[in-house]
């Protein structure tokens, strides 16, 4: 066997053992209480997951996006919330790795890789999500610092994490608007306030918060890349990685729903035989399995293109769109296969049913994905 395949297999086997031993037994309780999985996060640090795609030169593991997507699929099959703990953290890290100055890379990447500095990205505001250029958080240069004022919301990892890549306007009057946008490495300090933790339908356990910045000072050398006006591009080029992550989460949730349905269909009996022998159930299982496999292949293809440095906004968009819709549909179908038990809190199906819809909204809505796909398909095939 080729060495890389062998190594990937060892990594995935170890991730499976980690999930079986240190995640699966605790998911049901933590999720019911909406409790932050602090012990799981500590184990994730030991596992090296916070540095999995950070370059080996900076203390990471330098894994390919293809391997990363397979890890995320497995984690999400156990509990989607856990995959969110590393997603936006790694988008932040990859922004520094791609666009940071040499000093920023040396200072931050090794600490991101160990999880000593941990966090995510601060983009969304109460009045600006998909339309990021409409953000109002402002950073004004004052001596050696930027002084930041504004509000961010839906910021994952912001209560228990300590660092975020913060998107701000360094020139609110710039035209086009993105030329006035910059990205800062913001470590918690005076004026960086967590206003509240948001209550959510699903994706529980993980800290998604509203943040307030009041005269929060960031040293000017934390401006990613050292030049103002590049923030939007820096973060948008990282979002493809985020979309591949969310696609992989969709595959994981779709697979969890499928696996549970396949097992239940062979145990539960009606009219003297396992329900899996009734065609009504077989049709659902057939569709669920095919959807899962198609979602996995689209995700793997997008990850391969990302690794090869090819343009992959369309591929990542297709994977994100299809895999997350597969998660929603499979969660519903699995609930139908489970009948009344699927609706009960004793089973995990209802968790998948609550978790899956977030995937169609977060990291670029599925409406936006289809628009990206359409524009790209026309651009790549001019009439």
């Amino acid at each position: 066997m080729n060495e890389q395949i062998e190594q990937e297999q060892m990594i995935l086997d170890s991730v499976d053992k980690f999930l079986r031993t240190d995640v699966d037994p605790y998911v049901h309780d933590l999720e019911a209480k909406d409790e932050y999985p602090a012990e799981i996060v500590e184990k994730m640090k030991e596992m090296g997951l916070f540095g999995c795609i950070i370059s080996e030169d900076y203390g990471g593991l330098g894994l390919s996006t293809q391997t990363y997507a397979k890890i995320i699929e497995r984690i999400s099959r156990s509990w989607m919330s856990v995959s969110g703990i590393i997603n936006s953290h790694l988008i932040m890290a990859s922004a520094v790795q791609r666009a940071g100055t040499q000093a920023q890379k040396s200072e931050y990447l090794p600490r991101f890789a160990t999880g000593e500095l941990r966090g995510g990205i601060g983009l969304t505001e109460p009045d600006a999500g998909t339309d990021l250029q409409a953000i109002r958080t402002v950073a004004v240069k004052d001596g050696e610092d930027y002084v930041v004022n504004g509000t961010k919301t839906w910021i994952t990892n912001s209560m228990y994490g300590n660092t975020i890549a913060l998107l701000v306007k360094t020139d609110p009057k710039a035209e086009p608007r993105h030329r006035g946008m910059s990205l800062l490495i913001a470590e918690k300090g005076p004026g960086f306030n967590v206003a509240r933790k948001l209550e959510k339908l699903g994706y529980r356990g993980i800290d998604t918060c509203e943040l307030e910045f009041k005269d929060y000072r960031v040293p000017a050398d934390r401006l990613i890349g050292g030049v103002e006006g590049r923030g939007l591009q820096q973060i948008l080029s990282g979002l493809e990685l985020g979309r591949i992550n969310v696609a992989a989460r969709g595959v994981g949730v779709a697979r969890a729903a499928l696996d549970m349905a396949v097992a239940y269909a062979q145990q539960r009996k009606t009219f003297g035989k396992p329900i899996g022998e009734h065609q009504a159930i077989q049709l659902m299982l057939g569709e669920m399995a095919t959807r899962t496999e198609a979602a996995r292949l689209l995700t793997d293809n997008a990850a391969r293109a990302y690794d090869a440095g090819e343009r992959c906004d369309m591929e990542a968009g297709m994977a994100k769109y299809f895999a997350t819709e597969a998660a929603v549909t499979n969660a519903m179908d699995s609930m139908r296969v489970h009948g009344g038990y699927g609706y009960s809190r004793e089973f995990d199906i209802e968790r998948l049913y609550r978790d899956a819809p977030l995937l169609t909204i977060g990291e670029g809505t599925n409406e936006l994905q289809r628009i990206i796909i359409a524009k790209q398909i026309m651009e790549r095939n001019p009439a």
């Binding site: 066997m1 060495e3 190594q7 297999q9 030991e46 596992m47 080996e56 894994l63």
Partner: protein, 253 residues
């Protein structure tokens, strides 16, 4: 002290095993393979001995097909220092029998001179439960099988063994062969950084012929069949009826 741990590549314990149509054995084509779980426990114990300062080096050895190096890499990623692969077969379906394995291990041990051999009590594929015992006889070393607790005390080892009806603690002189049981420890899984580091640890390769051991099978597999499926139980009306059945039909009381 150096600890030597033999590890075997077997069908992963989560796989539902299928018997080959001709009954000559089980199907290994495209089947997930892993380290024998009892061997994982032995590797874990050896690493713990090293961590508490009771051992200096952990050497893992695997005997079989070339692919067994994956199993060795897993042990290296868990924390073993060095690995030796003895290639003794080309075909994954060829099982090396316990006596041949014990002879190969003896040859390796003669070179390596470990103070302790920690082995799984048996491999979950053939359930022979023989290699450790044969090895200790070939070496003329003391042995302690089915260990659920192990303490090294100077030049002897105190081993708690799982025996019928309870636990037995014995003291054996070192060097010795200890085979481990399920409850000795909970093996760790390798962290991803350790998997990457394992790539750089030494893995030597030899062949059975290099060590002068003939691995020609001595046993003949007559047939292989799947175990019978479980049958439905029966309900009894009263405790008296249950006791009667246990006495007369099952013959267990």
């Amino acid at each position: 002290m150096k600890v030597l741990v033999p590890v075997k590549r077997v069908i992963d314990y989560n796989v539902k095993v299928r018997v080959k149509a001709d009954g000559s054995g089980v199907d290994l084509a495209n089947v997930k393979m892993s380290m024998n779980p009892f061997d994982e426990i032995a590797v874990e114990e050896a690493i713990r001995l090293k961590e508490k300062g009771a051992a200096e080096e952990v050497v893992v050895v695997s005997i079989g097909v070339k692919q067994a190096q994956e199993t060795l890499r897993t042990a290296l990623a868990m924390g073993a220092d060095r690995a030796i692969l003895v290639v003794a077969a080309d075909d994954v379906h060829q099982d090396i029998e316990p006596l041949a394995v014990a002879k190969i291990l003896k040859a390796v041990i003669d070179e390596e001179q470990p103070g302790l051999v920690l082995a799984g009590k048996q491999a979950i594929d053939n359930d022979m439960n023989a290699t450790g015992q044969m090895l200790s006889a070939l070496l003329g070393w003391s042995q302690a099988t089915f260990a659920s607790k192990l303490e090294i005390e100077g030049d002897s080892a105190s081993v708690t063994r799982e025996v019928d009806g309870g636990l037995q603690t014995i003291k054996v002189k070192m060097p010795c062969v200890v085979t481990v049981d399920l409850r000795l420890n909970e093996p760790r899984y390798a962290s991803l950084p350790n998997i990457m580091k394992a790539k750089k640890k030494p893995l030597d390769e030899k062949t059975a012929a290099d060590l002068g051991v003939d691995v020609t099978p001595r046993l003949t597999v007559v047939k292989t069949t799947e175990p019978e499926g479980r049958k439905a139980g029966i309900k009894v009306e009263s405790v008296d009826e249950l006791i009667k059945k246990l006495k007369d039909e099952a013959g267990v009381i």
